[in-house]
């Protein structure tokens, strides 16, 4: 998947959860931190990460990926998986 496809996949996947922080899906920007803003809790973030591995075929280690700055933002995740 290319960058736009990965981004759309994540936004679709998180979908209705953006409302939790007062956003509609079309208002989401790349610097949105999916974990620390409360869009996803830890478990949902791990599930999203695992689903991204399946969807993209890119086998990343979550723990070492998290050590990279900005990896929990939408843009950071897109970068990791493209």
């Amino acid at each position: 998947m290319d960058r736009q496809e990965v981004r759309k996949w994540i936004v679709d996947h998180a979908g209705e959860r953006f409302a939790r922080i007062g956003l509609h899906a079309d208002e989401v920007t790349d610097d949105l931190d999916l974990l620390h803003t409360g869009v996803l809790d830890s478990l949902a973030f791990v599930d999203l990460f695992a689903a991204l591995i399946d969807a993209t075929g890119k086998d990343l280690d979550l723990e070492s990926s998290l050590a990279k700055s900005g990896s929990t933002t939408l843009g950071g995740l897109v970068k990791l998986f493209t």
């Binding site: 478990l43 979550l62 723990e63």
Partner: protein, 490 residues
């Protein structure tokens, strides 16, 4: 020979005398020795003496810095009780907590003080304003040690004052039943507004050990934290272990340094316990159980490797601590064995709720004893072991946090223009989450905004869903099962 005191402050002070130069706390990349934490907390106690008069409660902002830990110690040293405020909770929740506990003085970092002032706080202490004068008084201004707030079904958080005597009873048991040493390194995952954190702090400090506070994403990076910090004593909710399992981080033998692991706050499945035992083969694993009202935990079950065939696939809650009694309630009758609502009696049972002590039906007297009715449905077997079966009511546990779905519904009700909200718990992908149904068409963004003013993030429903009409059962009552079915599969 003197009988040792298990009062939380006495335990800390005994370690100050025994191991003054050993680390008591590692937080924000810095270690604080027992002697340093002793001095800081005495200065906090001095501030309380000078500023809080006869007031028995002081709030502590729960951002995990040295200020919060010294603050908790200092408030207790000043003979007062602390009221923790979760740093991520909305100002509306802080306001409710401050009002209900009658607190205006808050120990908080400077950057949090503007929001706290809006929430009703009037006096602040931070590291910069910490006086040099040390406390001199040993007066007690309250019998309480702390006040924890849990979810309340009326739309407001419910305050549980926990007594110093009750906390001392807890520490007496845990500090004698399990051995810890000054070379131990304790994890400190729990939020300071979660009563299990009280175990972290004072069990650790009773042994002269080091309390290690994880940085950043504690839960997601807990495996690296154990490894890098040399953690020997782990304490978390089972959800955190499940997270590690989901991350494929529980490989056999991967946590050999651990020598004890405690779990509490929600059901521990046998599958998860087995994976944990394989990952940490040197660790004794203990399943603790207890509502906040009975002080941290009141029953214990050591996990026995190989004994994985347990009823319902859930590790038993075990037996009550010594001096405590568990019964199952059937109407007005209490039974030693069988199935029913678990009721508990003993020195760790507290007095009631803030502003509600007399009215609460959860606390009652029978057979000449005071009891707390847990709302948990259990089986007490022939050996007196408690087995968790479920809840008597709709209360839900999310990562160990108690959530009354009715609190969400009560907050949304006035926003729905005559409509109604019903929140149910559903299992999705092996985890529990909340789904709220509403019977008027409204933008969920607007409703979430209203909830965020009052509720912590963990209490926000994962989804808000619209229904034309609420489904009814054969007797005209709301059919919650139909809602759960729809939220799970719809």
């Amino acid at each position: 020979m003197n009988t040792p005191s298990f009062d939380p402050v006495d335990l800390f002070l005994a370690s100050v005398r025994a191991v003054p130069d050993r680390p008591a706390l590692e937080v924000d990349g810095r270690a604080w020795t027992y002697a340093e934490l002793d001095e800081l907390s005495r200065r906090v106690a001095g501030w309380c003496e000078a500023n809080c008069g006869g007031v028995g409660r002081v709030a502590v902002h729960g951002a995990k810095t040295v200020l919060a830990y010294a603050g908790i110690l200092g408030v207790l040293r000043s003979g007062r009780a602390y009221v923790p405020l979760h740093p991520d909770h909305p100002a509306g929740r802080w306001q409710s907590i401050l009002q209900r506990s009658g607190v205006r003085s808050v120990i908080a970092p400077a950057e949090a003080q503007a929001d706290l002032r809006v929430a009703g706080a009037g006096h602040f202490l931070d590291l910069e304003s910490l006086p040099t004068a040390l406390a001199t008084s040993t007066a007690r201004h309250t019998d309480e040690a702390y006040v924890m707030f849990t979810s309340g079904s009326t739309g407001e958080p419910k305050g549980v004052p926990v007594g110093r005597v009750q906390l001392t009873a807890y520490l007496r048991h845990v500090c004698t039943a399990y051995s810890f040493t000054s070379t131990d390194r304790f994890s400190q995952f729990f939020a300071l507004s979660f009563d299990l954190s009280v175990h972290d702090l004072f069990v650790c400090w009773s042994a002269g050990a080091c309390l290690c506070v994880p940085p950043g994403d504690g839960a997601l990076q807990s495996k690296a934290f154990i490894r890098d910090q040399g953690i020997t004593v782990w304490f978390s909710v089972p959800s955190q272990a499940a997270l590690l399992q989901r991350m494929k981080a529980l490989q056999p033998g991967s946590m050999r340094l651990l020598r004890r692991a405690f779990f509490c706050g929600e059901a521990l499945t046998a599958d998860l316990a087995r994976a944990w035992v394989q990952a940490a083969p040197e660790a004794e694993v203990v399943n603790l159980y207890g509502p906040t009202e009975t002080t941290i935990a009141i029953a214990e079950q050591k996990v026995l490797p190989g004994h994985w065939e347990v009823p319902g696939g859930i590790i038993p809650l075990g037996k009550p601590f010594p001096d405590h009694i568990a019964r199952v309630r059937d109407g007005n009758d209490l039974h030693e064995q069988g199935e029913g609502e678990l009721v508990l009696s003993g020195p760790q049972v507290n007095a009631g709720y803030i502003g509600d002590a007399a009215r609460s039906k959860a606390f009652f007297v029978a057979e000449g004893r005071k009891w707390y009715a847990t709302g948990d449905r259990v089986l007490v077997d022939e050996a007196g072991v408690l087995h968790f079966l479920g809840r008597m009511d709709g209360q839900v546990k999310l990562a160990g946090h108690r959530v009354e779905p009715g609190e969400i519904d009560a907050l949304l009700g006035p926003k729905l223009g005559g409509g109604r909200a019903v929140t149910v718990a559903v299992q999705r992908s092996g985890a529990t989450e909340l789904a709220t149904f509403i019977d008027v068409e409204m933008d969920p963004v607007v409703l979430y905004a209203a909830l965020r003013e009052k509720l912590p993030a963990y209490m926000l429903p994962a989804r808000i869903l619209f229904v034309d009409r609420f489904p009814l059962g054969p007797h005209g009552k709301l059919d919650r099962k139909a809602l759960i079915e729809r939220a799970t599969h719809g």
